[in-house]
């Protein structure tokens, strides 16, 4: 038996197929993964993401600490409630984890990190926090529900009292607000609008049931994966890891090289990598029938055989496009025609620029 979130019993009651995910017993789907996917693209779905670790960091020098710890620059957060996506790097540039950091005040920030990496993340954060006298506290008392889809914000706002409803509905993208011990942010991992809601674990089941009554469809990790891949978002462990730096993981945009005066862990390694160039993470669309899967080899058509193969890092079937899509790390130009080895047969694919789908619409012509 694995770890259980505060919503585990609710998932079982709602017919979830439970699977192990990074040591947690989590819902894979509640009947049909594809229906859950479409519910998020067309209306509203909700995910239990309480397995992710919420880590509060506080102290007078917390900003200085995070500017050193993270590859993106928290100085870009100009006011309380603002959020930033960043990688946390090893000195050699390898990605320890990707995370979202929220500024709650000048002396208090909140990090949300992946479930599978929580132990090493906390050890890493603590090992550097001491020098800045920053207190690190994991918030195991909080649960987290992601409500996503075109109608998600209005349905989720009903959880709050009327004056608070207008506050959350006025939130801009990547901004959050506190309501007592609740925190509601307009963030997500699906390519749709929506909220991620952090609430006391004891209130999670009631909130989930109230959202369900509003017509928000429970959705599992299966739909979460197809949605994030359509949205062109990386999954830690697949599309980035400690063996690859952000520049070869499609995450150059998350690295704040400016200002040059800011020292951060991994900086010199990334500056070297930027000069030397290297493989890139690209999107793929399969032209044939079939399904792209991680670790399949990607060959450039027409290039010499000495050019090394690329590799699919995440592949799936896109329910919105009715076609297989993938992210792949390739060492050749992004305009190359490619072929993917699927069980020993070569299938034509096209390199494209993610995202594949945003706000319910396919962005790439088939």
């Amino acid at each position: 038996m694995g770890l259980k979130t505060p919503l585990y019993d609710v998932h079982v009651l709602q017919g979830a197929k439970i699977v192990d995910f990074g040591g947690w017993d989590m819902p894979l789907h509640y009947g049909s993964q594809i229906e859950e996917h479409h519910a998020v693209r067309r209306d509203a779905g909700m995910f239990d993401v309480s397995h992710m670790a919420i880590v509060d960091v506080r102290g007078g020098r917390v900003r200085e600490f995070l500017r050193f710890l993270l590859a993106n620059d928290v100085a870009r957060l100009k006011s309380s409630g603002k959020a930033l996506y960043s990688c946390m790097l090893l000195p050699n540039g390898g990605v320890i984890d990707d995370l979202i950091v929220y500024q709650l005040s000048d002396t208090w920030y909140r990090l949300v990190v992946n479930a599978g990496t929580r132990t090493k993340d906390l050890a890493w954060i603590r090992s550097h926090a001491a020098a800045y006298a920053v207190a690190v506290a994991e918030r195991q008392d909080l649960a987290m529900i992601a409500v996503q889809g075109p109608n998600a914000r209005h349905k989720a706002a009903s959880l709050l009292a009327p004056p608070q409803q207008s506050t959350v509905l006025d939130l801009k993208t990547f901004c959050g607000a506190e309501f007592g011990n609740w925190f509601v942010a307009r963030t997500g991992y699906t390519g749709e609008d929506g909220f991620e809601i952090m609430i006391p674990a004891s209130e999670a089941a009631a909130a989930w049931n109230q959202l369900h009554a509003q017509g928000v469809k429970p959705a599992g990790l299966g739909a979460r994966d197809t949605l994030r891949l359509e949205a062109g978002m990386n999954l830690y462990g697949n599309d980035m890891d400690e063996s690859h730096h952000p520049l070869e993981s499609g995450l150059t945009w998350t690295v704040a090289f400016e200002p040059l005066s800011r020292e951060f862990i991994g900086r010199s390694a990334l500056e070297n990598a930027r000069r030397s160039g290297g493989p890139e993470l690209v999107g793929l669309i399969l032209e044939d029938r079939g399904v792209l899967r991680s670790h399949q080899k990607v060959m450039a058509a027409g290039l010499s055989e000495s050019v090394p193969a690329g590799e699919v890092t995440s592949g799936t079937f896109s329910p919105t496009m009715n076609r297989s899509i993938a992210l792949a790390r390739v060492p050749f130009p992004a305009n190359a025609a490619v072929q993917v080895d699927i069980r020993g047969k070569l299938h034509a694919a096209r390199i494209v620029k993610p995202p594949f789908v945003r706000h319910g619409k396919a962005l790439i012509e088939i």
């Binding site: 789907h29 049909s32 993964q33 399904v291």
Partner: protein, 131 residues
């Protein structure tokens, strides 16, 4: 509980076999298998005329989650394969013992004589597997 029709034979790899007339058999995957795989999005069936030996990997069913091989339960020659699954793989989820059939074989073996399980034996096998 998954549906296990009494008139079919079963394998440990979750294929079913329906015995027809004159050495013709129809083959598919069980309700348990389709449920475990989840929503199917791609099905590859064997070409007509292909000679198969019992145990050969001869078809692929892919769900959103993963690809799985289907093994021929018997030795014989493929006489038909279900072309509808190319455009409607969900038939396999909706009707695994009917519209979701995979292929037909002409075989000199009898489904009764082959090393296949009865419905009761397959039900027992599933119960043991889930323990």
């Amino acid at each position: 509980m998954s549906n296990i029709p009494a008139d079919l034979k079963y394998t440990k790899s979750h294929e079913w076999v329906r015995q027809g007339q004159n050495g013709a058999v129809e083959i598919g995957i069980t309700d348990h298998a389709q449920s475990a795989l989840g929503d199917l999005v791609f099905v590859e069936v064997p070409d007509v005329g292909r000679a198969l030996r019992a145990g050969d990997a001869c078809a692929v069913v892919e769900s959103v989650k993963a690809a799985s091989d289907v093994y021929s339960p018997m030795t014989g020659k493929v006489t038909a394969s279900n072309a509808a699954l190319a455009s409607q793989p969900e038939l396999l989820n909706q009707d695994p013992y009917g519209a979701g059939w995979l292929f037909r074989l002409e075989t000199s073996e009898s489904a009764d004589a082959a090393v296949l399980m009865s419905a009761a034996a397959y039900a027992g096998f599933l119960a043991d597997e889930s323990k």
